[in-house]
């Protein structure tokens, strides 16, 4: 029978199937294989993949339509995807689209007549500190200006690629490594009186550090592994991590050691570790940096965690858009195999571990751990009803731990330097360690900053991130990714730790701090985020599926001068009907921008309604509808 796959691709298939205990889990890898060959996933490809995986064509089709990155029709040779989410929108999405339109004459959803360029707007690409930005096919182009855009488009047209593509992620660039660098050890921070060495980004700050295995080893890498593998009992590692106070860095902040200890000790059969590298909370871009710049640090963490929970298979579920990160990690994993850090008998300890990469394909919800598990199993990424929890019924219904990249990257350091050391950093016991905060929006120096938990937002925004862009007054900030409630200048002295933010009515979340200056329309901001949430709602449960569109429609009306006084109470009532009533935490997340802006800026909503226009914009903002599914 003829195949849609080339011979070379066909040869890869058995190896892909081998990675999973259940064939179906190879669905995303095979769809990627098909799309890499043809630029889209044809019906013939879906049928052939169905046959390979013992699925029916409708089962493949429903998955293809769930993820935004799979094209079902041929598209332009260069697929330009402009980030439209709030963080980029604050710094110039509209201008960027204007520049592209000026150059190519196309608007979102259109393809140039020569078939070369297709333009779409997409949701957050985890490049919030470097907006405005776009992804063209696999490459990121960041910190765009009109001149840069013109050059890129010319390059692409002429050469098929452009040198201006972003390399491994590193922002802000450590220009000066001197004593006044924000990365310098022992940064004295006046108000909080807190200080700490950078831990996770220490290596990558070294000039010339490439993230290669040699560099990592030179910087002391894989010492933790040597120290404990085969020498310390797995249960003792779990104890160590418990004692350190390490909490999950993905958003929910669950104590990592406790999570590990839930894995049934004596249940026979496989168990799994999954590194959640599906970073997609708008405003968050730290994991991307950790993976691209120091992949072995995370891999060592994965190996240690796998050892602690006694698994022999670990997957890295990496966000589909992170093509560069995936390549870097793949190389690093290969290096680790060659060096004996992975494989059947790691460092002669008898401990065996395989790490497999698993690429997502464009779905925010797959960052939610049970949705991630479904997605890994080759199903639509819909969150599962809990209980049962992944610790007992995870991947393929086997005990599974899912940990965030930054969480795992901390583990080698805890093992190396001891839990007491870790527990002394930040604001223990509840907020021990450092966090990499991702600064975006209207600050002078957006980027990733690793600081001890517990410094204040004032220090973060005004000292570390250099203060407000153009020295305008601060109007509002989001402290922990798009799912966290907006805060105001009155909250500047809130400390950046789990408890303080919960007390302030928001959350530490994923560490994404988005700063908005005076003049930013809060209704527009909320509308922007609601579009994100509506686009990314998986559609599984009623309140979120139906409510997200209703909320978005109301916000859009208010922003565009068609609001009614009763809309505000309606918004609040609908938010109340979503809160706590959905399968996963997404429902609570999507209402946070609305309830918090209504709480702090109700007058602004009322002004929109009273004046029947947006008071901040002479022209109504264009509605940038995200396409992609």
């Amino acid at each position: 029978m003829s195949s849609v796959f080339s011979k070379a691709a066909q040869e890869k298939i058995p190896g892909i199937l081998e990675r999973y205990a259940e064939k179906r889990a190879a669905l995303l890898p095979l769809l990627w294989l098909a799309q890499e060959e043809h630029g889209y996933v044809s019906e013939a490809a879906m049928k052939e993949i169905a046959g390979l995986l013992s699925l029916t064509p409708p089962q493949v089709y429903e998955n293809v339509t769930f993820y935004t990155m799979f094209n079902r029709q041929p598209i332009g040779k260069f697929h330009i995807q402009v980030c439209r989410s709030l963080m980029c929108a604050l710094v110039g999405t509209e201008q960027l689209l204007g520049w592209i339109h000026a150059k190519l004459g196309i608007k979102p959803g259109q393809t140039t007549p020569d078939g070369l360029f297709t333009l779409n707007t997409v949701e957050c690409l985890a490049s919030c500190g470097t907006g405005p930005m776009m992804q063209v096919n696999d490459d990121y182009f960041e910190q765009l200006t009109q001149e840069k855009v013109n050059r890129i488009l010319d390059d692409l047209k002429r050469d098929g690629k452009s040198q201006l593509a972003s390399g491994p992620f590193m922002f802000p660039t450590p220009a000066k490594m001197g004593s006044d660098s924000i990365f310098s050890p022992k940064t004295p921070i006046r108000e909080s009186k807190m200080e700490s060495d950078p831990i996770l980004i220490k290596n990558m700050m070294q000039p010339g550090y490439t993230g290669s295995l040699a560099d990592y080893e030179r910087a002391g890498g894989y010492q933790a592994l040597r120290k404990v593998l085969g020498k310390t009992a797995p249960a003792d590692i779990i104890e160590m991590v418990k004692k350190s106070g390490l909490r999950g860095r993905g958003g929910a902040g669950f104590p990592t050691g406790v999570k590990w200890s839930f894995i049934p000790k004596d249940r026979p059969g496989p168990r799994y570790l999954i590194c959640n590298a599906d970073e997609s909370e708008p405003g968050t871009f730290k994991d991307r940096q950790l993976m691209e710049r120091d992949p072995h640090q995370m891999i060592e963490g994965v190996i240690l965690a796998a050892y602690a929970i006694s698994t022999h298979v670990a997957y890295i579920y990496i966000r589909g858009e992170f093509v560069l990160g995936a390549k870097i990690l793949e190389n690093a994993v290969a290096e680790a195999y060659r060096a004996g850090y992975l494989g059947p008998n790691i460092l002669g300890s008898g401990f065996a571990l395989d790490i497999f990469m698993h690429r997502g394909a464009g779905a925010y919800i797959c960052g939610e751990e049970t949705a991630l598990l479904e997605s890994m199993e080759g199903k639509r990424g819909l969150p599962r009803t809990k209980p049962p929890f992944p610790a007992t019924h995870g991947l393929f219904q086997q005990p599974t731990v899912v940990n965030n990249v930054e969480t795992l990257a901390n583990v080698p350091h805890i093992v190396n330097r001891g839990p007491e050391w870790f527990a002394s950093i930040g604001r223990p016991p509840k907020s021990a360690g450092t966090r990499i905060f991702c600064l975006s929006g209207h600050v002078k120096r957006p980027g990733n900053y690793e600081v001890p938990m517990g410094i204040t937002f004032r220090e973060m925004i005004y000292e570390i991130a250099g203060g407000m862009r153009g020295d305008k007054p601060l109007k509002a900030f989001i402290p922990g990714g798009a799912s966290a409630a907006f805060l105001t200048p009155a909250h500047l002295d809130v400390r950046m730790d789990f408890e303080s933010l919960a007390q302030a009515g928001s959350m530490l979340g994923s560490g994404g701090v988005t700063v908005m200056e005076e003049g930013t329309c809060m209704v527009w901001a909320a509308e922007n985020l609601l579009q994100f949430f509506n686009h990314e709602s998986c559609g599984k449960c009623t309140p979120c599926r139906e409510g997200s569109l209703w909320l978005l429609q109301i916000l859009r009306r208010v922003e565009h001068g068609r609001g009614r006084q009763e809309d505000l109470d309606l918004l609040l009532r609908l938010c109340g009907n979503i809160a706590g009533r959905t399968v996963c935490a997404f429902g609570d997340a999507e209402i946070a921008p609305i309830t918090s802006t209504l709480q702090h800026f109700r007058d602004e909503y009322e002004a929109h309604i009273r004046e029947q226009r947006c008071p901040f914009r002479p022209q109504p903002a264009p509605e940038l509808i995200t396409v992609g599914h």
């Binding site: 046959g51 029916t56 409708p58 429903e62 339509t65 779905a363 009623t542 599926r545 706590g580």
Partner: protein, 888 residues
Amino acid sequence: MADMVNVLIDGKPIAVEKGTLVIEAARRLGIMVPHFCYHPKLTYDANCRMCLVEIEKIPKLQTSCSTVCTEGMVVRTNTPVVNEAHQSVLEFILANHPLDCPICDQGGRCDLQDFSHQYTPTTSVFSDTKRVYQKEFFSPLIEKEMNRCVSCLRCVRYCDQVMDVKALGNAGRSTMTEIVHFAGHQLDCEFCGGCVQICPVGAITSRLSMYEFRPWMMKRADSTCGYCGDGCALILQTRDQKVVEVMSAYGEGRNNGDLCARGFFGYQYVTHQDRLTSPLIRQADGQLHPATWDEVLPVLAERLTQLKLAHGAEAIGGLISARCTNEDLYVFQKFMRLTIGSNHLDSTPRYGHVNAVRALRRVQGTNRWTVSYEDLVQADVLLLIGTQVTAANPIVGLKVKEAVKKRGAALLTLETLTPSIDTTSNVTNLSAKHLTIPVGRHGAAVQGLVKAAFDENLVDAGLTARAGEFVSRVRAAATALPYPSDVDEATLRAMVRTFAGARRGVILIGQDLLQAAGGYEATVNLMDFLLLIGKLTQPGWGLAPLTEENNEQGAVEMGAMAEYLPGPTDIADPAARSLLAEVWKEEPPAAKGMRLIQMIEASRSGKLKAMIIVGENPVRSLPASVKVAEALEKLELLVVQELFLTETARLADVVLPACSYAEKNGTFTNSEGSVQKVRQGLDPIGDSRPDWEIMSSLSVLMGYPLEYGDAKEILKEIRAAIPGYRVLGATPEPARVDSRTMEQYLSGGFADNLATRYHATPSPKSNGHAWHLRVGQTLFHSGAMSTKAKGLLEIQKEGKLIMNPADAERLGLAEGDRVRLRSAAGEASVPVMMLGRIPAGTLFYPESFREDLASLLAVTPDPVTGVPYGKQVIVTVEKVGAGGGGGK
């Protein structure tokens, strides 16, 4: 009891088994928690969020469909907070719902309507733009209206979890999720109608009755399906002498509310325009002309009486279809045996089922199953041999799927199918071990099973002690044979190990085995197998033959066959004869009766002068080479009772219009032995009458009255004549092995035909041009009746030769191309289609379109059981050119 927990729901205490969901516990208390996505047949998904309840000590509201009862749990389903939650979910759903209830066929029986009525205010604050899905054509049978969908995914889950079909998916995401098939293509599936039945709203409805009713306009009759032997409970919904729809309710019947395409979409033949509405009589011009009953019956009675007087009762024979009710069948055989006085009678089981009946009666003393459907579901191993279960017996297929998918049973399959996934289910995909058996080789595989029982040392030690001769002689016979060369020995032996090592196991056999030469011997050998491994008499174990038509079991048990009296008992059994004589006040005739093929030949030779054919169509059912029409034309009198003017009816001197099952009362007996009610839903079409009533009238006119007031009176007599029929209903006690019969068999009975049934049958050599063609049952049709059902014709309107895609590619054939088939008997030209489940080198043709292949086939009657084997043939295939297309 340790495995019970006590909960308090709305102040009412109840003890439930551990693991019970709150929503189920509430239901048992009569408290209905509103829900869309929950369904007891499906694993919970908790997506609709409608069933939120308050549980003490848990701060957030919980979905009662996914929360398990724990000891001391206190639940409240009707508080202001809970009601407000229900209201809010409805508000979200209704925001985008089109509110098109006036034109929605679900209106009046819609969960969304009912809950809205109960919980929501009559005004809506939604004033934005409703989400609108563009209308798209989904399928000729199933209508999809996504604007009404509540995204509960019951349909998708049913299609996967219950049917194992997976033809439905949930595409897109967020507010625009929708139920889809594949990439906008028209739905291609099993058309079981399950999605229509399980949809709580009007999102998925049947197109066969679209816009034709409001639920309250319909009259309901609870009846039993007239297609296959599974015996599904049906609800006929009728209006103005039309069946508007057929459905089945969850929890009802042996099918527990599940149906197949035939049951759900195959009802329209009942009111087909070609139904016979008055008697027809052949007049001097040689044509059939309408007449009244009063004109026809006296003439007919006189003619029959004359023929009987002139040539003796022996000159009259009868055939009856197993589609008839037990009451029809019983009166028919009594009419033949007493009014006429002849034992020349036969019925549908002659085409194969009688092989099983004879084998089971010989070894276990009863033709009935010793297991029930529940035993299938609870088995931990199931062995399927030649069943094509999804096509032939779809609901038994569901029991098999349930056993495997929900309860983890090991499925062993010896089928002329190969695992291959598409959007109709294929049980071999679920097999733990599977062997693809070439057409006609199931008997050889069964011999291999018996041999393997010895080779694997699995013979029951007790049996060896008790029936040493049986064991040693069967051992000698079976182990002398080689393993069949066309099945893998290791797999076969592994299957036997799995089967014999199980706690509870059932063997299901079907038409590929029973309708093939050696079907009787193979069934006896399977009984040997069960005896040898010591399982035959164990509870939960048994051999279960499946029947193709709805009442084959009934036809046998009513004695509508030459060799059986009601019971069935042997026609020559003195005890049975005298028991029957007590009821009948007369002994049945003693002379040996002729069977189907013998009667055809006797018609040809002039030995038979008259035949009464009730619902059978031998002109069509037997191949051209038998020359049935030619034989029947020789008769002096041919009487046909029918729904339609069939090929056989066209030859008749008198055609009498009969009622379909929808127009009469009575009972059917399914494969499993459940005797189930058939209830009238329509008045008889035209002047048609129930078959039994026609014969009853004739008997009166012939001076030997068999008078019954209604079907119930007949059943009363049946119950007197057959002890088993005292139990009516859906949960029968399975029959038990008669130990006297078994001991007789073990102590010597087995020796009879031992050599013939352990006789090597070499695999037919293929010279590279020979293909094995099997004519058999498909899912979408059954006999010729279904080809009058509009719904089924929408799915499959013509016969197509089904072949393996690789074979087709090799022959350069595309879907719809025509091929010429040649056999020793003749040739035929038919279009082809491809299906991966058909093994290479094998061809399959739907029985319901067998007239296309009439000239290819030949018949060999079984010397013992008289089964006319003629559904398998070796052919050559050549391409005749492209064209055709359409249909399935």
